[in-house]
Amino acid sequence: MRTFKKYLSKFSGILFLLFLLGIWTFISCGPEWSSQYLFPSPKAIANALFDSREELLRSAGASLLKLVPAYLVAAIVGISIGILSGSVSWISNMLKPISRFAAPIPPNVYIPYAIAILPTFYLSSTFIIFIAAFWPIYLNTAAGAADIPEKYKRNAAIIGIGRFEYLWRIALVASLPSIFSGLSVGMGLSFIMLTVAELFGENTGLGHFVQFYADYSDYPNMVAGILWTGIVVLAIMELFEFVKRKLLFWTKAN
């Protein structure tokens, strides 16, 4: 009895997924009030996933081509300015008003303007993703660098680490925990903005895939697109967590 409970608890996540799949299956092929058309059966979705595999891969590739460069630029710029702003008081003072004002603006309100002023849709999408990722990365990095324990500063001063070297050797490393929380929030937001931009008017990418089949009322493919998006995001997040664990190994004790 006890071992049964233990196993039930251990596999409850998978069991719950199976339960949800059961409900979906029931709705998709069972009662009169439901529509097989709007709720395609798991088998139909699996078929769509398989049949559209090349297009799905291409879409994921196209999405990553927008996401990765924009996100990386946001990370590099956000972390660099954040470290400076957290360590040098005049830079912090200079940037405080603008970041107070601009950071809370939801990035999607920039979309129309970005489309108007930037020459290609690709650039507008990447710009929006950049904005979405930049603020959380910058703000968290700056907060982390401003909050570096006095002990590390004293330690650095004792062994003769200069002002410039301090920035990358101490401030950057010691702020890594905050930097990673910023990177994580920024990642989530940039995914949202990526798909929003693609739903709007892009003709490539995961958001476009979903929108395209929705327009043709091809719901198996549309649901397949949603599931595939989930898988891609999950894979990137797992990779992210892996890198984070590698770089933050030293925070275990603190």
Binding site: K151, R154, N155, I158, I159, G160, I161, V173, F249, T251
Partner: protein, 271 residues
């Protein structure tokens, strides 16, 4: 005033923070090779005094110098060991010590590493070179911190309650290590300032004890010690002279505390 310019010297030293006097009228000369234990209760400004000697803090009043030169900023000549954080947590022991050597001495990477290994061997950490601080016990971390402080070629060692967080066994063995390293070296006498609030520790280690009274911090006793060689710890503490010294320091302490209490009581009564 003495003619020799070696060692630490504080003249009419004062430090205040937010308008509150932390240290006042400190006149102190520490000769080269002396092992001075700085005793005082919490809030007596003993850590502040150590930070002033280290160059981490600047005084508001008076002068403070090392070998006749004004102390303006931290230097490898005056190395510091803090209570629990002298090592960077993201570097291994060897990397921590090597970094300190590379920053303070102009040596090649390979030589710095070699030297770091030597100093870590000296403090008994030869088998933990590649461990990170979080993988080490508190005692081992402090051994690493001491190795780092000495490896940069320090002439003075400033220790701020270095063993305050350790269990008694580790504490005793680290005390003996410090004695051996700082007082044992004949060719290169290291001037040591050891901050503690443990009277027994101070008496065991020091060649001289300075007691700070509090609010504001000022020197209330300056006691030179001249005790027999420490062979056996427990026998040594049973020595009559040692016990008398411990009692005398306790009395100086209590007198200061009582005077302050009396002052407050009188002040209260006069209102």
């Amino acid at each position: 005033m003495s003619q020799t310019q070696s060692g630490f010297e504080a003249t009419n030293l004062g430090f205040s923070y937010d308008g509150k006097a932390i240290l006042k009228d400190i006149n102190l000369k520490i000769n080269q090779g002396e092992f001075v234990c700085l005793l005082g209760e919490s809030g007596s400004g003993k850590t502040t005094l150590l930070n002033l000697f280290a160059g981490l803090t600047k005084p508001n009043e008076g002068r403070i110098s090392w070998n006749g030169k004004e102390i303006e900023k931290p230097s490898a000549e005056r190395s510091v060991v803090f209570q629990d954080y002298s090592l960077f947590p993201w570097l291994t022991l060897l990397q921590n010590v090597t970094l300190a050597i590379k920053k303070t001495k102009k040596v090649k990477s390979g030589d710095a590493k070699h030297l770091a290994e030597e100093y870590l061997n000296l403090v008994g950490l030869s088998r933990s070179l590649n461990k990170y601080p979080f993988e080490l016990s508190g005692g081992m971390r402090q051994r690493g911190a001491i190795a780092r402080a000495l490896s940069v070629g320090a002439d003075a060692l400033l220790l701020d309650e270095p063993f305050g967080a350790l269990d008694p066994v580790n504490r005793a063995s680290l005390q003996d290590l410090v004695l051996e390293l700082c007082r044992g070296v004949k060719d290169r006498p290291i001037t040591t300032l050891f901050v503690t609030h443990d009277i027994r520790e101070a008496v065991y280690l020091g060649s001289r004890i300075i007691v700070l009274g509090s609010t504001p911090g000022r020197i209330i006793a300056d006691i030179p010690l001249n005790f027999p060689v420490r062979k056996n710890r427990s026998d040594w503490f049973r020595n009559e002279k040692v016990q008398q010294t411990i009692v005398a320091i306790e009395e100086a302490y209590h007198k200061d505390v009582l005077e302050k209490l009396g002052h407050i009581v009188q002040g209260g009564a006069s209102i």
